[in-house]
Symmetry: C2
Subunit: 209 residues, 2 copies
Amino acid sequence: MQKIDTKTKILNAAEQLFAERGFADTSLRLITSQAEVNLASVNYHFGSKKELIQAVLARYLDVFSPALELSLQNIIDNKDRISQIEVFNCLVEPLLSLDAFRHQGTTMFLSLLGRGYVESQGHLRWYIMTNYGNVVATFNHVVREANPHLSKEEIFWRLHFTLGTVVFTMASSKALIEIAKADFNADVNIEGLIHRVIPFIAAGVSSPA
Amino acid sequence: MQKIDTKTKILNAAEQLFAERGFADTSLRLITSQAEVNLASVNYHFGSKKELIQAVLARYLDVFSPALELSLQNIIDNKDRISQIEVFNCLVEPLLSLDAFRHQGTTMFLSLLGRGYVESQGHLRWYIMTNYGNVVATFNHVVREANPHLSKEEIFWRLHFTLGTVVFTMASSKALIEIAKADFNADVNIEGLIHRVIPFIAAGVSSPA
DNA sequence: GTCTATATATAGATAGAC
DNA sequence: GTCTATCTATATATAGAC
């Protein structure tokens, strides 16, 4: 039996509750009771609820962000002409690797990201762009290379549409997978879901105006 | 000067605050002070905050839902072969007509819908499917007609991807429009946003497997 | 670092006078 | 229908003993 320190216990409990219920609906009391630690320890270790939220997201972004950067640099260095589908396939490996990092890590990360964008009035958006803006810029650059027929602005919009598709799908993945099982007797896991959504967004992004 | 009754004053203030800040972050005190009515009147007229949220959404759905049904029935009756783009264009008129119904009605409705799907743990999803499930079924039917090459299951997934795209985009529409203004000096309104997102989802839904 | 106890603020909801 | 006043629950955050 391994010892888990209080800080990690809090992060583990918080991420699950945040992903399930959202940030506003998750109290520090709920987090600390689930983590079986004292209420006051949240403020001792993180300072405030807002900083806890950032720490929860940072734990994922610190793994995902360099993995995606590497994946993108690889096709930048090795390809003369970058195809649309190659670009989006760059997301698959870094996303799935989060499942090894944490149980249901892929789903967790994307749910948190979605809530971060919708719930917090820009705080998290700002935090993400300030601390992980580089990889966003690289991704943007590669999408531009693969879609020379689209303007910068058009790509801006379509990448946000894409973000919405992925984030919403993953935030609802549990319910969607259950419905698919009940209605179509289909067994779909998170990897299968990612492989279904990629053709959808690839077609959307590269569609003519 | 027209007299607006208390109930309507509350609905008007609530929908604006809900769309801007979300349901959890909007207190009844904030709503009633903005509406310049007494705090206790919310419970008198609506019973609870939850029922107020439903009433706010119902005011839009009661206009939108029959308009979409009519629009869909029109192409069912008059077309032998239904094209993908026609289906999604059915959404445009009913959505934009909400701007006549209420100031910034389209934005308001779609923001509320987005928040309803992301924030509330299924309560609103259930409320919507229970009370407005018919038009959802009709829409599903028409999409199937337009995409005979896709299985029922594939359509199920793609329509949920679509829902995610629209709902996330609209919940973030205010921020996105501001960023587009700052970064590209682009003036985009809600109508422009709808016309940008429709080609995206139409391409995604009809893309080959 | 962790605990108890508590300060302070705010939430939704209601009783009862008018 | 509308008001004041208040109940009750819960929130974040912190002070200070250990």
